[in-house]
Subunit: 203 residues, 4 copies
Amino acid sequence: MSTTRSAVAREPKRQRGHIRVAAIIEAGVEVFTEKGYDAATMTEIAARSGTAIASLYRFFPSKEALADALLLQYANYALDGLAELRSRAPGMTLDGIAGAFVDFRLELQSQRRFAISLADTRGAIDDKRQRFREAMLDGMAGILREVIPSLTKAKSEVMATILLQILKGVAVVSQEKPTARRVLLAEIKKLIYVYLASAEPLV
Amino acid sequence: MSTTRSAVAREPKRQRGHIRVAAIIEAGVEVFTEKGYDAATMTEIAARSGTAIASLYRFFPSKEALADALLLQYANYALDGLAELRSRAPGMTLDGIAGAFVDFRLELQSQRRFAISLADTRGAIDDKRQRFREAMLDGMAGILREVIPSLTKAKSEVMATILLQILKGVAVVSQEKPTARRVLLAEIKKLIYVYLASAEPLV
Amino acid sequence: MSTTRSAVAREPKRQRGHIRVAAIIEAGVEVFTEKGYDAATMTEIAARSGTAIASLYRFFPSKEALADALLLQYANYALDGLAELRSRAPGMTLDGIAGAFVDFRLELQSQRRFAISLADTRGAIDDKRQRFREAMLDGMAGILREVIPSLTKAKSEVMATILLQILKGVAVVSQEKPTARRVLLAEIKKLIYVYLASAEPLV
Amino acid sequence: MSTTRSAVAREPKRQRGHIRVAAIIEAGVEVFTEKGYDAATMTEIAARSGTAIASLYRFFPSKEALADALLLQYANYALDGLAELRSRAPGMTLDGIAGAFVDFRLELQSQRRFAISLADTRGAIDDKRQRFREAMLDGMAGILREVIPSLTKAKSEVMATILLQILKGVAVVSQEKPTARRVLLAEIKKLIYVYLASAEPLV
DNA sequence: AATGAATGAGCCTTCATTCAT
DNA sequence: GATGAATGAAGGCTCATTCAT
């Protein structure tokens, strides 16, 4: 499938390797998420994944490469989910789609797969994040046009930007206590609903 | 740089200190904002504020203490602004208050006073940030009740949480190009408006 | 790469081993020469010789051992050449022998067989280098006595030391551009000639 | 004198600093000489100079910068000595100048000031070494023309190249036992003498 | 009181060498 | 026997923080 990839993660050729990589990725997500890119140390990631530091470097030739890989994986997962949502979109009510968006974001969280707070990380990785963001916006805009056909492309893009920001709130409220959490998630759904409704032409 | 100081009236120590502290804070905001907490170095902050490193440490005994102070200052500024907004709230239309919220957030940005991306920084500083967040939520909930008297306290707090998240979007869209920016800010205002309107009982 | 090996006559192990070793030695010479002892990595030598790293270690149990082997091979080659030169020495003119020495050194260079700049490498290898040096001096002193029979053993050894140093210059000038190179090589020959002549008793 | 110098050694502003720098330079010369550039470690240089590693880096911002500084210092010292020799050259006999060259080289050695075996070191430092070499050749060629006026510029340069190589032998024989050493040094002088004489037109 | 210097802990990364399949 | 994977020791370098003048 893929032959050589310069500075990017190299995939293992033996069974054990895959397990290792999985452990590293998991630890990487954990540590990056907990501490942020700069404060995370390769040593800790290695330790937490039960790998020797040099082994970690065998698969991910640099800290940045590891972060890249984590982001990429998250991006793929998220984009896949979004595509799936889109396929279900036609015929959904505004209310349904509002809930679907929130559930989608919730799912992303639950899958411990995401990584790296949106902060620090300068340099090359930022480009990739930017591209990911654009792909997300694109996908969301598409969904919006699916459910509100009267939307122009431009308008749908603006709304997607807003929507993305709203959905970030899901991550924030996820840290609240269960009760508050439930209430807040319902409120976010409602917010999205009224927002979408306000953009739909009155029949 | 240092001049004679024989008979000349030397400013009272407090005065000099204040100037120094102000310079440090300004430099601190700059550097933290530009590079993030981890990548910012005390040496650079010292240099950029024209202070010797040891002097910097006289006023702020650690990097974290400096970040704390920066946050505190920002919090005070923000809370003051919020209080002021609250005093103007009574009698404002929903539309007016939606705009006012956005303008308020915009103002915060423009005043180079705020610092440190909400990420990295772990430890003690997080508590303070939490308290600041709560104070903000409190203030915003109050304003909401001011403009939508029918709101219960609980409901207003939920809405404040949502609103705060929406307002974070102002920072995000501020990085877009002027045209897009203007459009997006208008959209945020609209979003807030429809959200507030949805919570107001139909007369 | 690896083919079937069922009924096909597999070369005797020894044979295969020799090929491997030869490949490793060649790669070793290359890499050591290009990068120097320290900067050369066993991994690269393995890769460049098409050997697996573990196989390399089967033949040469350490980096130093490999360097040793390289030196030894070079020493043998050089000493053989010197012996051959010695056999041709009787009856040569001083001028002829001067040229022969330079050509001899030139030959050594051309045969990509030599390795490792005379620097770095500490430890055990230095002893071997020392012994090699002595063997060379010995051989050269012998040749000198062959062409200048009046030389005492002691004197011939002193002269050999000097001569060896002069010949190192061949390596240095070899890096010059062709034209300069030619001139400098001729000059070295002349230097050797006048040096030898100065030691020959006036007839 | 000098204000800022990017990646090069920074000179201390206080008394203590000069002492430190001197100690570092001495240790640097020692370690680089003993182990070669690659094998030398900053940690050892720091330790041997009684400095903390970070202090070392305060003055010399990188290993290469330190090596650079060492080379520069050596070059200056050597070139000064050569200039001085040149001023004494007019009127010297060939025999005298031969001895003077050897003494000059000997002096360089004795002044523990020189550094870094001519091996390893790739990159930027090699350029400087090259320039240094050329300056030396230039100076030596000048001296040769001083004592053998009939020399063309080109011829003197060729001879200087040869001479430089011969003089390297001084370093080599310096490692011999005193007795052998004395004999060899005398032989080098003689070699230089006959070489120079061979280039002088018969009167 | 102010400041340049000193420092040690720690980070990312590499590599010779040994395992385990 | 051959090979990819594993590893730990070490190296260059930075930075928050403390001394000493």
